[in-house]
Assembly symmetry: C2
Homo-oligomer: 258 residues x 2
C-alpha cells in the first residue's frame, strides 16, 4: 500500500500472547495491533515488527511500522491506538518514518533483558514477569562467561533449530549483569539474534554459575557449534525486548527516549 | 480441632480470585490455601484470615491461622505449603501462635495501600496492579482531605452496605500519600475497616483533587453519614493489604519483619 509510513514504539506484557508473529489459531501481539490499527485507520493495516518474540516474552521497547492512507497526525497515534488495544499492549510513541523504513530490515541492533528473581521464596507479583531461581548465583563467574560471548562469533551452539537463517554468525556488542536487590538483570545487545539465542546464553551462564561449565569453556563451545554442550533454554517469562536501534534520526530518537 | 495453632504470613496477587473469603462457586484465596494445607497436613484444615479482601484485591502482608495435628515444625511451613500453592499465592513466614490466637479477632490494626498509576499512558505491566488515573492530581488537597479522616469517626458515609456490623465507628490512625515517580501510594491504617471503606475514601480524595469536594467537606460528610455525598468506590486492582498488627509477640514480630 502507498501512503504514509508510521513507526510505533510499543510496550507489552506478552503473557497472554503467542509472541509477536501472526499465528493461525492463537492470538499474537501483531494481529492484535493490526486489528486495532485497522479499526482506527478505516482500512486494512499490515504491521512489520522489529523481531519475533516468543510466547510469554515481553517488550519494554518494541518497534513496528505500517502504511496508512489516513490523515491522523503521527503524534495522535499513541492515544488513539490505545483506545482500541487491550490493556496489556500499549503504543507509547509514534513518528512518521521515511518511505523505505522497515522495522526489521532497518534495525541495526537490538537489546534483550533477562530478569532473574533470585530469592529463597517465590514472589506472586513476579509470576509471568521474571524467572524464579532460588539457588545462590556466582555472579563473578557469570559475568566472566557473559564477556566470552561478546564479539563476532558463530552462535550455532546457543540457538534452537526451527527458523531458517543464512548465517549463524552474529556480533554481540555487550552482555552485562546488574544486581538490584533480589533480582539479577542480564542485558545483551547484538546486531541480530538467532532463535532462542538469548535464552540459551542465559541458560549457559546458569550452568557456569552452577559449576557445570567454566567461563573459559564458552569459546570452545561456540567454536564446536554443538547445542548439547551449552546450558538449557531458560523460560520465556523472564525475557524482555528492551532496546531497538535505527540509523534513521526520527525513529532512532523515538526509540532512545527514556 | 485441637492441636497446634499456626500463624502464617502470606503474600498474594488477587487478580484471579474472588477475594479471601470462601465463596460457593468461585475460587477464593482462603479455599486455595486450605486445600494446600489439607494436602500438606494430611487432615482437613480450616483457615481464619485477618480480613475480607474483595475480588481483585491483593495482599503484600496477610495473616491467617489454622489448627493442625501435624508435627511439621512451624518454620518448615512456608517452603512446604508453597509446594502445594499456585504461583500467585505465597506463604512467606510461619510461627506457632498461642492457643487463643485468632487472625481476625486478635488483630489490633490493619493497613491498606492504594496504588494509583498517574501517567498520561497506560502501562501494560501495571494492569491488574494499580488504578490508572491519567489526569493531574492535586496532591496537597488530597493530603489535607486524607488528614480529615484521621481519628475516631462514624464512617458510614464511606462504606458499601452489604455486610452487617455492630457499629460504623472506626479509628483511622494514619492516611498518607507518597509519590514515587508516576505513582501515588495512599496508605491508610485503622483499627478496622467497613466494607469498601478504603476504596470509598480514595474515591473521595479523587473528588477533592478534581474540585468536586473541598478538604473541609470531609468532616461534614462523615457527620451526615450520607454515602451519596462522598466520592465513588475506586476499582479493586489498586488495593493491597499491606500491614497487620497483633499484641502477641511472636505473631506481631513475624508480621512486622521487612
Amino acid at each position: 500500500m502507498s501512503g504514509r509510513n508510521i513507526a510505533l514504539r510499543l510496550r507489552y506484557d506478552g503473557t497472554a500472547y503467542h509472541g509477536w508473529q501472526v499465528q493461525k489459531t492463537v492470538p499474537s501481539v501483531c494481529e492484535t495491533v493490526e486489528r486495532a490499527l485497522t479499526r482506527l485507520c478505516g482500512h486494512e493495516v499490515k504491521a512489520v515488527g522489529c523481531g519475533r518474540t516468543d510466547a510469554g516474552v515481553h517488550a519494554l521497547r518494541y518497534c513496528a511500522n505500517f502504511r496508512t492512507a489516513s490523515t491522523i497526525p503521527a503524534d495522535r497515534f499513541p492515544q488513539a491506538a490505545n483506545t482500541y488495544l487491550p490493556d496489556d499492549i500499549c503504543v507509547t510513541d509514534a513518528v512518521e518514518a521515511p518511505e523505505g523504513f522497515n522495522a526489521i530490515l532497518s534495525c541495526v541492533k537490538k537489546e534483550y533483558t533477562y530478569r532473574i528473581f533470585n530469592s529463597r521464596l517465590r514472589d506472586p507479583f513476579l509470576r509471568h514477569r521474571a524467572y524464579f531461581y532460588p539457588s545462590p548465583l556466582r555472579e563473578d563467574r557469570m559475568r566472566r562467561a557473559a564477556e566470552m560471548f561478546v564479539g563476532t562469533h558463530d552462535f550455532a551452539a546457543v540457538r534452537s533449530v526451527g527458523t531458517e537463517t543464512k548465517t549463524t554468525v552474529r556480533t554481540v556488542h555487550w552482555f552485562t549483569a546488574e544486581r538490584r536487590g533480589e533480582e539479577l538483570f542480564l542485558r545483551v545487545c547484538a546486531d541480530g539474534f538467532l532463535y532462542n539465542m538469548v535464552r540459551a546464553m542465559v541458560g549457559t551462564l546458569l550452568y557456569v554459575s552452577e559449576g557445570k561449565l567454566e567461563p573459559e569453556d564458552i569459546p570452545v563451545l561456540l567454536e564446536r557449534g554443538d547445542r548439547g554442550l551449552a546450558g538449557p533454554t531458560v523460560p520465556p517469562e523472564g525475557l524482555y525486548m528492551s532496546g531497538v536501534w535505527y540509523d534513521d534520526p526520527a525513529v532512532g530518537a523515538m526509540m532512545e527516549r527514556p
